[in-house]
């Protein structure tokens, strides 16, 4: 049996691990878990703030995966498959209303009011501080905007995949991203964003 963890050589491609897992190999299943747990959490935390809900959903999708392993098709893109499973599960397990929330502009407006008081120079900012500021800026986005920013810039997902995952047209995803940029642009006046976007306008 191949070494799933790939200690001594290249790690096995997902496709091969997936095949072993489908044949009921628990080690392969664990490898999939180890490969995708963190990634899933990094997306999941944009879908719900409720840790218990997220844990339940992650648990449920892996158990579901294990239970239905024999009936699963070949999966080209495991990450996409798991993301969709997680999203669907969170919708089904309910309670968080992220998916019904429309774009929430109020939080952003509140933020704008407070913004004028903080005038910091970028040059003096460390990378860490910049990241923090970007984080704060992202926090002002609506839930769906956060989700789309997460998928796009953390997970590097294509517009096609995002549109399939979120159940939106590609155009809507694109618009959602543009709207997010607009918010971020205002939020990050002092950062590269502003300079860049204004200079281009």
């Amino acid at each position: 049996m191949s070494n799933f963890l790939g200690n001594d050589s290249e790690p096995l491609p997902d496709g091969i691990v997936w095949l072993h897992f489908k044949q009921g190999d628990q080690r392969a299943f664990k490898v999939l878990y180890q490969r995708y747990f963190k990634i899933l959490c990094r997306y999941g935390c944009r879908l719900t703030l409720d840790r218990q809900l997220l844990e339940d959903a992650v648990h449920d999708i892996f158990i579901d995966l294990w239970r239905r392993r024999e009936h699963l098709a070949e999966v080209e893109n495991i990450k996409f498959y798991l993301f969709r499973a997680l999203r669907n599960r969170l919708v089904r397990n309910g309670r968080n209303n992220i998916f019904e929330n429309s774009e929430d502009i109020d939080g952003f407006l509140d933020y704008l009011v407070s913004l004028s008081s903080e005038q910091q120079s970028i040059d003096s900012e460390s990378l860490q501080a910049r990241v923090k500021r970007v984080q704060d800026a992202v926090e002002n986005l609506s839930d769906r905007q956060k989700e789309v920013i997460n998928l796009r810039f953390y997970h590097g997902m294509s517009l096609d995949d995002i549109s399939q995952l979120m159940g939106l047209s590609k155009q809507s995803v694109s618009n959602l991203l543009f709207k997010s940029y607009a918010v971020l642009r205002l939020r990050l006046k002092e950062l590269s964003f502003l300079t860049m976007l204004l200079s281009m306008a």
Binding site: K30, Q34, F62, G156, M200
Partner: protein, 365 residues
């Protein structure tokens, strides 16, 4: 790359650009582009910065969950899964409902559904019942370790007589729509009538539902069966069936006074019989004695049916010819039947919680 469309936001929405920045893919395309358009270098670099900053920002979100802890949970669910599929392969639809279950009854049903799923036909313990009931409601518990029966008055006026080595858990205040208690061991229930608030007794794998009545339940954890004996009123008893049937009562049995149900915990079956000592359903004085002189045997039988609430089946034509003089006392149905059968030369037996009288009749004068 079309120059006219090259603004930072379009770059951010370009899949190839993102792939290049985050995964170092497509670098040939972008290096080539930069070489051909040195004036765009600053723009590209800034867009790249934005992607990286957003990536970092999202990466540094607080880690929500503990990887090992979630894995142990998954592993233990997998084990349960194997056990269960080896035993029965029951439906597990209930599992996800668990969190949503609104009412206590639904919660219990669903929880049991989940148990069935996990453990096959595992026996349900009192402790499990309590643990899950307490999610919704704080419960009081009375334990009778003494030798004498213990009287417990519930908030609704019902009185429970708890046998020895038995436990009863109940909420200090019942819910609006229903009264629910949990029993381990044996108890006699005298339930205050309240048609709008059914009274449920959960005992091992059975549920006994009543509106107002008196009955006795024996449900010891280590015993093979659960029995419910009905004194008065009407009771329905059913198996905890989880969520398979919308109304588990449909598969249960309705008990009338002097009937009892035995639930076989191994076979998961319910069987209805008469109680061992059927007593008059109305509170008759101990010295009660109803005399009959020269009446048809059928009249006596009709009276017995009335007093004990037990259906008696006999050949009416045949037995109406039997003229008897006898009396009914407030004792067990069987004592009275013995006397009557002797006089008409017949026998009786109990079938399906009914009495069937066999007699050749009294044709010969």
């Amino acid at each position: 790359m079309n120059d006219e469309r090259l603004n930072p936001e379009n770059l951010l929405n370009n899949d190839s650009f993102i792939n290049w920045v985050l995964r170092k893919e497509d670098s040939f395309v972008w290096n080539e582009f930069l070489r051909a358009n040195p004036d765009k270098q600053a723009l590209i670099e800034r867009a790249r910065q934005v992607v990286l900053e957003l990536h970092e920002a999202e990466k540094n979100l607080p880690a929500a969950l503990d990887e090992d802890q979630v894995w142990s949970r998954i592993e233990s669910s997998m084990k349960d899964e194997e056990t269960s599929s080896m035993r029965t392969g029951k439906s597990r639809a209930g599992f996800y409902w668990l969190k949503k279950a609104g009412s206590l009854v639904a919660a219990i049903g669903v929880i049991l559904g989940a148990w069935n799923y996990y453990y096959g036909q595992k026996r349900i313990t009192y402790k499990e019942l309590i643990t899950h009931a307490e999610v919704e409601n704080k419960l009081l518990e009375k334990v009778n370790t003494g030798e004498t029966p213990m009287q417990i008055s519930l908030g609704d006026g019902s009185v429970v007589t708890l046998g020895k080595n038995s436990k009863l858990s109940y909420p200090p205040n019942f819910q609006k729509q229903k009264r629910e208690v949990y029993l381990s061991g044996e108890a006699f229930f005298n339930v205050a009538r309240d048609a709008s608030k059914p009274f449920y007794v959960y005992a091992n794998e059975t549920v006994t539902k009543v509106l107002g009545t008196s009955f006795e339940i024996k449900a010891f954890e280590n015993s093979k069966s659960v029995t419910v004996d009905v004194r008065t009123g009407r009771v329905s008893v059913y198996k905890q069936s989880g969520i398979q049937s919308m109304d588990p009562e449909v598969t249960g049995l309705v008990l009338l006074p002097n009937q009892k149900v035995t639930f076989d915990r191994d076979e998961q079956s319910l069987k209805k019989n008469l109680v061992d000592t059927p007593l008059p359903i109305a509170n008759l004085p101990a010295e009660y004695k109803k005399k009959f002189e020269d009446v048809q045997a059928t009249d006596v039988l009709k009276e017995m049916e009335k007093i004990y609430g037990v259906r008696i089946i006999y050949d009416h034509e045949l037995l109406s010819k039997c003229i008897v003089s006898t009396s009914l006392r407030s004792e067990s149905l069987y004592d009275n039947l013995d006397v009557l059968c002797k006089t008409i030369g017949g026998t009786y037996k109990e079938i399906d919680a009914q009495i069937v009288i066999e007699s050749k009749g009294c044709a010969g004068e």
